[in-house]
Structures are given as structure tokens and as C-alpha cells.
């Protein structure tokens, strides 16, 4: 019996993926954004709906704009919150339980990538290459290991592509799955929905006009609209669209495209594909005949269209393109197979570079001097030529001294019941892991009933969307006298800006050799009581 029958390669890849996604999942506590989801999920278990207020703390990162008068969460869609709540119900209020479902969806993405290619194009090598690329993609692994919508978005994006290739025109079950995957994508994050669905639909019609029967297409669109209409009103999309910043669009475009070639599709490969499909841009005759390549073109155009739509949103964040990682893996897998068939040595070199290094992304950008390395990044991050999997494993096996973890431990041991903690950032992890009232952060105006017992003035300054200092920073500067009323406790660990943030510009795998700033906590000095 052949070895690959006993151990099919995809099972080995999935086992590797499961290890990379699940091992040490709770090594580091939730950071601010994850804690927002986890906090809301905790409240779902209590109230049945995501409420921003639990009687002690308020969950907000947008100066209180996220909820209504009844504290009902009306900012971001609820699917991730309910998925986390279900996990908490089954596994308890733990970091591992909160992250587990998303990691499993990440694993589902790896399988779907394989299945999509193998089933539709019958090319096992390509399918395995694509699945391996996604498994070895450290940014994808980091995002999928977060208690946040990222892997959900990637999964539903892939599911919609999978069903799109599966005779949805004639089969009811496939059409239903297509509707549900797109509908769920909306409830995962509507920004992903709009930025993915609109270009995918338009490009699909252009590339596969014969595969869009009018009646069935209209029914599908109508069904999707019915699914998403309640969400359109519930999540105050109209209100949020007012913060579109026209001036930011060119900069956003530049940032997204630069990030795309810096972390996802290397510039030489993007250039090769552009050159290969150059005729497509002015004649339909340029559209590739071969179904595999045509699909690759479809995915490539979806990525470009997606980025163009995303650049309209005011905040330009790398997390909004995470759902495109599986698409990029399919494209890169196809390029590796082509290179291998063209020249074996080049194929092997390319595969090595793409599976295990980020050099093909970064080195050509260095040659052109277009790489983006903010001053706060260091050589052991993904912004520098590295072996990403090595860094990732180093973090897994040598637990990182997480800044949120340190603050949590400090307050769990030092604060007393009823204490009020004011912090300029990292309020949400403290709210989730400790029983205290935690104010400040990005919650907006603060008016504590009494002076806070503890003040954490984080080193990194935080600003609002209008570039003014956050209210918590201003409150500390204007209303408190830290020097007179508080005792500064300088702690022996670094006051890192975020903690376990997955963004490649911010994620540190190994602690900095020389911390920039030490954490400082201010403790209220008890007034001296005069005994008569």
C-alpha cells in the first residue's frame, strides 16, 4: 500500500495546521480588541444580547458611539460575539475557549482551500501547495488565533467561492449555502461583505457571464438582501458611513497595496501576473482559456477590487484584508506549480522561499526602497527578512511576557474589591480578567464617582479620530495630580503598546532586548488620618 494512501498529505498538512493553530492558544491573554469581543460575549451569557454595560464596566473603544440608550451593542456585527459566547458556554470563561472556535475556522480554511482547488481543477499538487502555503502563513495563523472575526471572514469568503463553483445555478442546497455564506459574511463584518461581495459579483459577471442565469441570480440577490436588511439598520451603518474620509483614500490605497506585496503576494509574482494578463485590461480575448488560470485571474481581480473598496473606509487596517489570505494562497500555489513545471530548480527555490521565508516579499521591496518599517518595529518582526515560522514557534515555546498579562496579574494581586482603575489603554482586558471597575481607555468622557484608586498612564499616547488626545489622557493631565496624590510604582516590565496584537506591524515574537519604556502604575495615596 502506498504511503500517501496511508497518510494522505492533506491530513499531514491539517495536522500541522491544527498544531500551529491550537498549541499554546492561551499563552497570552486577550488584547484590547479581543477583550471587546470576549467582554460582549460574557454579557451575552448574562443578558442574552450583547450589552456594552454589565452593571460595573462599559465596553467601548469609540467614545461610547457603539451602543444605544439601553447599552445594546450596535456597532460591529454580532456573529463573532455569539460564536465566542457559545464557546464560553461550553468551555467556561477562558482565553482558550474564546479563541478555540476561531482557530477551528482557520483550520477549516486550510481544508477548504485544498478542497476548492482539488475538487474544481483536479490538480492535487496545486491544492496541496495552496493548503501548505496557508498553513505556513504566519500572519494568517496569528489572526486565526485571535478571538475576533478574522478567520470567520476568511472561512465565509472561501465558502462563497466554493459554492460559486458548485452548480448553484441548478442545485438548491448549493444556492442556499451560497446565500448563507455571503449572509454570514455580512454578520461577521460588513466591511468585508461590501468590499468582497461587490467586486466579486462584478468580476464574476465579467469573467463568467454564462454562469449567471438571470432568474436564479435575482433570487440569490434578493435572499441575501433579506438576510442582511435587519443588520443594515441594527448596526448603524448609515451613521458610520459618515466618517468616510475622502482625503484618506489615496493614502489608504497606497498602504493597502504596499501591505499586500509586503505580507501577502510578493512584488515579483504580482508583476509577473500583471504582465501575463496585460491583454485582459483592454480585450476579452486576453481572458485565459484554461479554467485554472481563469480562476486565478478571478481571485486576483477580487483582491484588487476588494482593496479599492476598502480604501473608502476611514480606518486603514491590515486586519481588513485577512480574509484574502486563502485567495492569495491559491494564487501562489498555482504560481509554484507553474514554476515547477517550467523549471524544476526554480520551482523548488520558489516553494522554499514562499513556504518558509518572507524574503521574496521583502528583499525586492528593499531593492526598490519601498518597504514600510515604522520606527517601533524591530529586526525580529515580520517587517524584516526572517523565517516567520521560526519566529512563530519561538513565541509558542518561549512564552512572551505579555504587557496585558502583567497588568492583569498586578491588579489581581494588588487591588482590593471595589477599587477603581483608570487606564489610558488596555481597559478591556482588565475588565474581562479582573473584577474591578475599569474606566478610561478609549471609552470617551469619564466622570468617576471618586478619584480612581489606581492610574495607569500608558506610555503610548492614544488619539481620537480627529487626532486629539483621548479623553482619558486629558483627564489624567487636567484633573489629576499624579505627583501629589499618587505614588508611582515602576514595574520591571515593558509598557508595550498593545500586547498580543496579530498585525504584522505590531506583533512581537520575542521581547525587545532593550525596552523603550517601563510600565508605571500610580497608586492613590491614602490621606493621613489624624487621631484626636
Amino acid at each position: 500500500m502506498r504511503v500517501d494512501r496511508l497518510f494522505p498529505p492533506i491530513l499531514i498538512i491539517l495536522a500541522l495546521g491544527a498544531f500551529l493553530l491550537l498549541f499554546g492558544l492561551d499563552n497570552r491573554p486577550f488584547w484590547q480588541d479581543e477583550a471587546e469581543t470576549a467582554g460582549l460575549a460574557k454579557n451575552v451569557l448574562k443578558y442574552g444580547v450583547p450589552r456594552a454595560y454589565d452593571g460595573v464596566n462599559i465596553i467601548s473603544q469609540e467614545q461610547g458611539r457603539e451602543y444605544d440608550r439601553n447599552f445594546l451593542w450596535r456597532w460591529s456585527p454580532w456573529l463573532q460575539i455569539y460564536v465566542t459566547a457559545a464557546a464560553f458556554r461550553l468551555g467556561g470563561l477562558t482565553t482558550f475557549a474564546g479563541r478555540l472556535p476561531f482557530a477551528l475556522f482557520g483550520l477549516g480554511c486550510i481544508f477548504l482551500v485544498y478542497r476548492l482547488v482539488r475538487h474544481n481543477f483536479g490538480d492535487r499538487t496545486w491544492a496541496l501547495c495552496a493548503a501548505t502555503l496557508l498553513t505556513c502563513s504566519v500572519p494568517f495563523l496569528l489572526f486565526a488565533r485571535q478571538c475576533r472575526y478574522y478567520s470567520l471572514g476568511a472561512f465565509f469568503t472561501l465558502m462563497s467561492l466554493y459554492t460559486f463553483r458548485e452548480e448553484w445555478q441548478s442545485r438548491f442546497s448549493t444556492a442556499l449555502l451560497l446565500c448563507l455564506s455571503i449572509g454570514f459574511l455580512f454578520y461577521t463584518n460588513y466591511l468585508l461583505f461590501f468590499s468582497y461581495v461587490i467586486p466579486a459579483f462584478l468580476i464574476g459577471i465579467w469573467l463568467y457571464p454564462q454562469e449567471f442565469p438571470l432568474k436564479r441570480t435575482a433570487i440569490i440577490i434578493l435572499s441575501i438582501l433579506i438576510i442582511i436588511v435587519p443588520g443594515l439598520f441594527l448596526f448603524r451603518i448609515q451613521e458610520q458611513s459618515q466618517i468616510i474620509n475622502l482625503i484618506a483614500i489615496p493614502k489608504n490605497l497606497e498602504n493597502y497595496f504596499r501591505d499586500l506585496i509586503q505580507f501577502m503576494i510578493p512584488l515579483p509574482i504580482a508583476a509577473y501576473l500583471l504582465w501575463r494578463w496585460r491583454r485582459v485590461f483592454w480585450t476579452r480575448a486576453g481572458i485565459p482559456e484554461e479554467s485554472g488560470e481563469k480562476f486565478i485571474l478571478f481571485l486576483g481581480l477580487i483582491i484588487v477590487g476588494n482593496i479599492i473598496f476598502l480604501s473608502l473606509a476611514p480606518q486603514c487596517e491590515y486586519r481588513y484584508v485577512v480574509h484574502l489570505y486563502p485567495l492569495a494562497a491559491i494564487i501562489l500555489g498555482w504560481v509554484i506549480v507553474r514554476a515547477w513545471r517550467y523549471d524544476k530548480i526554480s520551482g523548488v527555490l520558489l516553494a522554499l522561499l514562499l513556504f518558509f521565508t518572507n524574503w521574496l516579499c521583502l528583499v525586492p521591496m528593499e531593492w526598490l526602497q519601498i518597504n514600510n518599517r515604522p520606527n517601533y518595529t524591530n529586526r525580529h518582526m515580520l517587517t524584516y527578512p526572517n523565517l516567520p515560522l521560526w519566529l512563530f514557534l519561538a513565541e509558542l515555546f518561549t512564552p512572551y511576557p505579555d504587557v496585558n498579562g502583567n497588568f492583569i496579574r498586578f491588579f489581581q494581586t494588588q487591588a482590593r474589591p471595589g477599587d477603581i482603575i483608570l487606564t489610558t489603554y488596555g481597559d478591556l482586558p482588565l475588565q474581562f480578567y479582573t473584577p474591578f471597575q475599569v474606566i478610561g481607555g478609549l471609552q470617551g468622557k469619564i466622570s468617576p464617582s471618586r478619584a480612581p484608586d489606581w492610574v495607569v498612564s500608558r506610555y503610548e499616547l492614544r488619539y481620537k479620530r480627529n487626532y486629539h488626545l483621548q479623553d482619558s489622557e486629558r483627564f489624567i493631565r487636567e484633573k489629576l495630580s499624579l505627583a501629589a496624590d499618587y505614588q508611582a510604582i515602576i514595574l520591571p516590565w515593558e509598557d508595550e503598546p498593545f500586547g498580543n496584537r496579530a498585525d504584522p506591524y505590531h506583533h512581537r515574537f520575542v521581547p525587545a532586548a532593550r525596552p523603550l519604556a517601563q510600565a508605571v502604575i500610580y497608586k492613590k495615596v491614602m490621606p493621613i488620618q489624624h487621631v484626636p
Binding site: A339, D343, S346, L350, L360, N375, N386, L461, Y467, L516
Partner: protein
Amino acid sequence: MSLNSLTVKKFLLTAGLLLVLGQGLWQLPELQDYLCPVENVELILKQASKECPLIEGDLITLTKRLDYLKWFQAHNGPDQKISAARLLSFPFSECIRPLAPRFFWHTNIILAHKNRMKVERRLRYLDPLLKGINGDFRVRTPHASPATPAETAAVSRSIKQIKRFQDQCTDYNAELMELTKQLAWLKKNGYKN
């Protein structure tokens, strides 16, 4: 002929990939640390020499933007003709100024705040870096230790550089405070039309 061209293409592809492989390997931090370790002081000085021109550039932009806003406020309205000089410095703003003066004003105030924030962040990063560097020098006087003249010269050169960067930071901080005051005044006495 076509066989030759194919061989050349394959060769070029392989060579290109090998080049990337070679450079990537060369730049690997672990290998760099092993082959040519760089002093922490050197790294910080390099970082400072990269950051200072950026801070300076941002301060110049902020100053220009504030001057632009002051000019606009002084001339009180959108009737002024488009100027080529201003068009070069602020193309978008100069184009929208006659069409939507209120939008122009608010946008530029926000952009000025953004400029200010960028400088503040850069300085907040650079300040502790330069302050922390002092601890890296076990400054050896000629009497205290047998340092070679070359070593002593290098240390004193580095100390001078650090001092220069620290002075620059102080100047930048002062300039930023002044510009912040001007911005606050402009915002308070806002667009009046």
C-alpha cells in the same frame, strides 16, 4: 534559438531566486548578529539619524500648513485666486479652497492636528531611546582604563553625536509646543464666514 532563449529565461529565473535567497539569508538577524555584531549605541544613533530628518520634515509641513491657515484667515474668504506656490505645497487644499472654504478650513485643521500627532509620536519614541543610551557608555577616562586612542575617539564621537541629537530633540519639543499653541489659537478663532 528558441531553446537558447528558454534556457536563458530559466537561468535568469533561477539566478533571481537565488539572489533573493542569498540576500535574505545574509540579512537574517541571527546570522547578522553572529557575523557582524553591531553595538546597541550604533543602532540607536542610526535610528536617531533617520528619525530626526523625518521630524524636521513633519515640523516644516506643520509650520507651512499653519501659515497657510493664517493667510486664509487673514484674507477672510474664498475670493483669493489660486496660487501656484500654494498649489504645489497643498494641491488638494488649494483646489477645494475656493469651492468649499468651510470644508477646506476644517480639513486643514484636522490635517494640522495629524501632523502634530505624528511629530509628538516620533519624539516620544526618540526621547527615551536617547536618554537610555547614556547607560550604554562605561566612559573610560585615560587614567581609569587602558582604552586605546581609537576607542576613546570613537566613544567621544558617539557622545558628541548623542548630545547633538538630544539638543535637537529639545529644539523640536519647543517648536512643537509653539506650533501647538498656534494651532489651538487658529482653531479657537476659527473660520468666520
